[in-house]
Subunit: 274 residues, 6 copies
Amino acid sequence: MFYTDNKLQYPVRVDTPNPLFARALQQAIGGVEGEIRVAMQYFFQACGARGNPKFRDLLMNTAAEELGHIEMLAHAVALNLEGAPLSLKEEMAKDSAINAVMGGMNLKNLLSSGLSAMPVDSDGVPFDMSHIYASGNIAADMTANIAAESTGRTLAVRLYNMTDDPGMKDMLQYLIARDTMHQNQWMAALEELGGAKGAFPIPNSHPQAEEKTEFSYAYLGFQKDGSAPAPGRWSEGSSIDGKGEFTVAKLGALGEVPDLGKAKPKSGAQSEQM
Amino acid sequence: MFYTDNKLQYPVRVDTPNPLFARALQQAIGGVEGEIRVAMQYFFQACGARGNPKFRDLLMNTAAEELGHIEMLAHAVALNLEGAPLSLKEEMAKDSAINAVMGGMNLKNLLSSGLSAMPVDSDGVPFDMSHIYASGNIAADMTANIAAESTGRTLAVRLYNMTDDPGMKDMLQYLIARDTMHQNQWMAALEELGGAKGAFPIPNSHPQAEEKTEFSYAYLGFQKDGSAPAPGRWSEGSSIDGKGEFTVAKLGALGEVPDLGKAKPKSGAQSEQM
Amino acid sequence: MFYTDNKLQYPVRVDTPNPLFARALQQAIGGVEGEIRVAMQYFFQACGARGNPKFRDLLMNTAAEELGHIEMLAHAVALNLEGAPLSLKEEMAKDSAINAVMGGMNLKNLLSSGLSAMPVDSDGVPFDMSHIYASGNIAADMTANIAAESTGRTLAVRLYNMTDDPGMKDMLQYLIARDTMHQNQWMAALEELGGAKGAFPIPNSHPQAEEKTEFSYAYLGFQKDGSAPAPGRWSEGSSIDGKGEFTVAKLGALGEVPDLGKAKPKSGAQSEQM
Amino acid sequence: MFYTDNKLQYPVRVDTPNPLFARALQQAIGGVEGEIRVAMQYFFQACGARGNPKFRDLLMNTAAEELGHIEMLAHAVALNLEGAPLSLKEEMAKDSAINAVMGGMNLKNLLSSGLSAMPVDSDGVPFDMSHIYASGNIAADMTANIAAESTGRTLAVRLYNMTDDPGMKDMLQYLIARDTMHQNQWMAALEELGGAKGAFPIPNSHPQAEEKTEFSYAYLGFQKDGSAPAPGRWSEGSSIDGKGEFTVAKLGALGEVPDLGKAKPKSGAQSEQM
Amino acid sequence: MFYTDNKLQYPVRVDTPNPLFARALQQAIGGVEGEIRVAMQYFFQACGARGNPKFRDLLMNTAAEELGHIEMLAHAVALNLEGAPLSLKEEMAKDSAINAVMGGMNLKNLLSSGLSAMPVDSDGVPFDMSHIYASGNIAADMTANIAAESTGRTLAVRLYNMTDDPGMKDMLQYLIARDTMHQNQWMAALEELGGAKGAFPIPNSHPQAEEKTEFSYAYLGFQKDGSAPAPGRWSEGSSIDGKGEFTVAKLGALGEVPDLGKAKPKSGAQSEQM
Amino acid sequence: MFYTDNKLQYPVRVDTPNPLFARALQQAIGGVEGEIRVAMQYFFQACGARGNPKFRDLLMNTAAEELGHIEMLAHAVALNLEGAPLSLKEEMAKDSAINAVMGGMNLKNLLSSGLSAMPVDSDGVPFDMSHIYASGNIAADMTANIAAESTGRTLAVRLYNMTDDPGMKDMLQYLIARDTMHQNQWMAALEELGGAKGAFPIPNSHPQAEEKTEFSYAYLGFQKDGSAPAPGRWSEGSSIDGKGEFTVAKLGALGEVPDLGKAKPKSGAQSEQM
């Protein structure tokens, strides 16, 4: 259950409104690396967390934090849009700067939402909830979260490098710091779950004796000329999960030429296929 | 550049066709944890890999492998669909088993593709390429790949537990083994990039002095009553990236009540908002 | 900013788990009439609310409530999935009841989320945030909210009529009551904004003198034979906004046959078009 | 059944082609507030209208009108694109005005459709038919239509304010007038269905005795500090549906901490969850 | 501009309502091979048709026909849904036939639309207007239309083979006949545009001297072992467009190993990439 | 099964990086006319090809080629993005050229992928695999492929006309040539399947005696005034499939006014509908 206090988690200030930066910030709201994604991902992972309840607690607590980040960014988008032109009228069109802004901003931020934020990315594409990874496997969920925060902090750093507005830089310094914590937080949770040697291969509940173990730690080459692809830590030494030794092999086809035979009558195929 | 030999990477055999299992297998083709996703993700990551070329090599080589997995699964789907009824006619409708199969299968596998595989998930939802995470940051890409293979192997294990068809179990044992390798492979690549202490926080090129460091390693509580959420590895000890110490704090609002003021004239708002 | 207490807003109890009902409940989570939609719609409307701050307050407060409804429904889905089979194995396939359940449930609830809720609808289609209507016009937003709660309560009533599980009926009685309130609440907000006569036509800030007023209150017929379509309140009497009188007319084409002329050279058209 | 006369419903004239305005007009075709949406929404509502046939008649008649609006807007888009550059060649790139236009227009309007309209919004996102609300409840449908025309007229007004092309202003004055009528028309239909007191709460066929009536007219507060959110018409007086009195209350959690217990064996969870 | 007469283009009768067949029919409404697709595709092609106006005429006339087909199918879906159960209640759940129907039908046809048709496919996935191919090249449009009617008639035949309801078979016999005509109609239009030798390669306005003609009629092999793939009409004889001779060759890489070099500073990459 | 040699199929060179052209090229990667579409379409058609195995061979061989085209274009996008600004900082914003570029480029190419290609179109919309037409009918598949290559070559020609970069023109000359071949190749395959007279109407396995033959070759007019639409090859002479004679007729409604009667109790409709 959720509560609000109608305040912002951290101050949001825009010194010089910039509609192009508003468009860029939309990626941090509705992009696949954005805050809706992490808020809803942690929320749904919490709702499906079976086993030790402290993971549900950890996830829902962080979901609450991320909801506040969406709110901050939505406010920042609206403040940046304050400077947007509303018109393409002729006298304005002569000013190429206005034209460039109008052409460069996300038009839905004006036409659909009246100079406010939307749950879309920087090109106006709406966020799609298929990006909420909540697998029912708590360790797989942690890997998805580390990935989400890694791309999320990368995005926040790019936004930070894009602007020199003091207010926006201050807000992004806060969000970047939180992404630092969240990367660490989910790695810490994975460590509680056994780390590389205990949690992997995920799911660790499946008996490895039932997989084709000759392929479990082999770096297979699919080079046309049969050569080995570039070697690395992945081609020799102990496997990271501590359960095998990396080997290298090229792979040729082990299976046959696939053949489905003829089509069934009345299946809508051509006569020649039957 | 790609080449083919028209054979399957590993043998695909279905002993007893089962249209419901065909539907389940579709998740491994067109689901967000499926093989189109990993094939295309590694492909696009390879195309954008800057820096040491061995990562491009590693990624594109594995993309080639995954393309072969899509092909195997597509063949398995078509073989399982061989047993599907084509009709709801009255004499057949009396047989509730036929009805259950017809109702339970993905109807597009019949109506759209004529008993063949499609790039859709187990509920008939088409795969959407926004799930191809290729960030331009090689370490962030590795975290996305570990996550993809973790949910991928979880899915493969669920499919394996769902069937007792010997052919299908054999194929899945191969795919599960490859997922084991790929989890390890991407963790190994991350280790080459410095591992937890060298690669994190991602991106490691951003100077941490420019983030609000008082929030970088704090586990913040967002509990209504101000209590601390459940403690764990994430709330004490050195941070996993080795650059800080975990602390715990509750967070109240640091920002103000957000206020956008009045709407602009001619912005399409109500008069009362202006 | 948001807070949680880790409890459910209202008790959620399932007496007899039913995986088919789990699938139906998914519509109330990730369907276009569902709770993610209203939670996020009120959230984004609040973030863009200009003018009197009490509307922001009203919207964000209700967003907090709806977040708790998602959580309740997600718990209900997981509890209903407790009864789901994990297998299509032969001995089980002989039991047509198991087959019907496996075929009838949303397979991603098993394969993707391990018997937990997902942000998808009853056919497994993910929620898409383009359904978040937040127009920047506070009255238009209220009409969208009345519509959302009207289809939402209709859905809740259909779910209520579908089950006889006492726990589920109790939960739905709560949610139906809240939808009653929310329909009334948004109508009340519209009344504060002037009601039918003050708020309409939306936006009320646009001078009606600048529209083609001869068409502003005419019920136009588009019948092939030129007859008038069925009369009703919409074809006579004062208009609901109090600013005109309804009239009836048939409409023939006022414009010309559209003709774009020839295609530009080098525009990729056929030679015959140039 | 539908017929055409190959003419435009109302004259469409563009005095000065403007590719940026073409992009903006796309929102009125393929945006969620656009004409495809209303045409198809009324069409499908008509097809599912049970009960008094005059509502089917009303809906299908208006669907025919809206199809003509799509045609008008598509013509307007193509006429505005007549001024678009086809090239980024170097001599042209020096002209920053050309660059601004090329960068600002929807590139698919050139690359995919050869300077013609498409069923996409102003940012090139295709319209998705999940926005067709046709609920099988005629009153709920009317609320969805009032909302559609409210956001639709808001969009048309924004487009009108954006241009000073006389032809485009004339066309938009017609469309704005029709939106005025349609807002009134659907409110009139709702009045025929009983208005606020007769039609609400929707669906009015559900016995209110079976909802938790103590929550049916209560404005609940979800403020962290337990304070009441801002009062208004929604917090006191008779409810708008005339069936209750508004009250105010804060809500604390009525339910328990949700706990799903352990994961099932073979469900793909980690061992630690079982 | 469009008109209606409120009647069905062809009689629609269902003798024995079958909710599973309703689900199958949804594919013909909202599937990618369905009637919304062709109606809207011809509509938008008409709106963008430059050059000889008879093609606009042909396209818009057929769009009007297809709108009537959507209406027929929507009526057929609603009639088939008349037999659907509304409940999963315990006494009914014992009847496995009811369970199979409830599990097999598209649940949104009940929950979202109250036993009416929706613009979705047979698995409940909404139609997405990106499938409207309107290229601005009239010959390319004709090829898209031949393809649409080919998959469309294949779908109609599959539906015809699936049912033995006399009313449904009669309706489908009409629709199949119209698809026969439409395949022929668009082939005839392509013939008017010059047929294989005049219209191809599309666009025929591009000077072939500016393409790499050594690759214009070569069937290239991409076999791992360098062997030629299976020969056919495509590997020898005159090309179908009459402008070349088919040849066969294997292709090895003509380009280099791609190398993007180092990442830019401040681009969000890892330090190791810079 | 697939192999790679890590080289490009054809040289890719960019003389003057142009971020706007990078955006345009994205359409050829992730647009509906792009290379992902054809690669995956031929791949899935191959996997479902029943009957003569040479068609599977032809399809999979060409799929391998198209995968190499995606790789070429992805490299071209990244090279063009080398010239992109990373910043909107004030000193740069004064330069309207930089602003125009930043506003005109696809921002996700910077924010999400760090100056690399993505599987999205020129407006940043991700490719959606519902565009993979693989019907199980080999002739219908060939029509879909001719259409794909016709719109594909049209797109490539538009890109070619848009640039004067010698490297890009050279690459596009190769791709245009391959599209010429592929148009011819699929027409040749259709000729092997019987051509217009043997393969059509598709599917040719359905007995035409079971369609309403009076409608099979009639060009029906849907004009409001009952006039015939513009005549052409489609209105007289032998049908293209050689199985009938084209005729012309106007069509009035053959069916009745559709009437669904009353809504079921407990179906969520209004009381007035029951």
